[in-house]
Symmetry: C2
Subunit: 196 residues, 2 copies
Amino acid sequence: MAVIDDLTGELSRLPGIGRKTALRLTYYLLKRPPEEIQRLARVLEAVAEQVRPCSECGNLSEHDPCAFCANPRRDPSAICVVEEAADIGAIERTGQYHGRYHVLGGRLSPLEGINPEDLNIAALLRRLGNGSVVREVIVATNPSVEGEATALYLQKLIGPLGVRVTRLARGLPVGGDLEYADGVTIAEALAGRREL
Amino acid sequence: MAVIDDLTGELSRLPGIGRKTALRLTYYLLKRPPEEIQRLARVLEAVAEQVRPCSECGNLSEHDPCAFCANPRRDPSAICVVEEAADIGAIERTGQYHGRYHVLGGRLSPLEGINPEDLNIAALLRRLGNGSVVREVIVATNPSVEGEATALYLQKLIGPLGVRVTRLARGLPVGGDLEYADGVTIAEALAGRREL
């Protein structure tokens, strides 16, 4: 049973997958044709071999520069700064943003020992340096305490360079319910109210 | 992004893993060292290559015969019949059973077009044939309508061979609550009541 146990063990290391789910997945896979298991194995191999951070923006990609940095049709005058590469997908799905990205690889968190030098900030400053065409940096860190602190830190760093620094609006989520919204969100929504 | 999308696609084919979970797992894996992703890929390859049904009992194993069939210390006079290889683990964890196993690979379900010839029944009959030392077949199919029907079918088939056919007791699960037990389970528990 060794390789079966190994598979269950490896699967149960994934986040949100406990021992029971790992067992269920293992026996599901065991019932599939071997080619199907091999396809999953091969795509994992390909990811492990080929995917690296983009040297320009830090996005995870099998190409360097990544598809966003290499695309001449993406507006080079705007950079949207996100915590993780996964956040890019969330913004792309809106179809409303056509600029470039920059992935920090986390957020400032002194409690967890994550300081500015642990994030991909030097590369961001390089992109804003001499001859830069960037006019706006949109900070899209998460609306958490750490995300806020990171946004403020970037604002202090980048503002003096003459680049406009903005951040995503905060307020009530569309489809949400005022009755169940937390006080901080309502306060932000009030503070950011706009003319109808 | 092709291989990243491929990985998300493959992961979202797994049961209970939707597109969002697949994305989360993908980005989790992308943040791990490549060696860790490769370890998962290799164990999947090993499973795809090495794990096959045991020709004796149908259990999934990298050895043929499997560890249970090959173990001379497992009582050869008892065979416990289960629907899936995964069920063996559940019985083994009790530590109360020391006989052999037989995996049907499913249960009878005319509605889904699963008939006796689709299950691993011929091999079971071979094990009970000439010169067999088997004295008891414990039918441990699931306590569902299909599992019951499968148990009754096996009883009719095997009973005439002079082998004792038993099935797991049904009743209140230990730690369960009478108030929340369903009527059928309580009826079975009543019918199967024992002297204190």
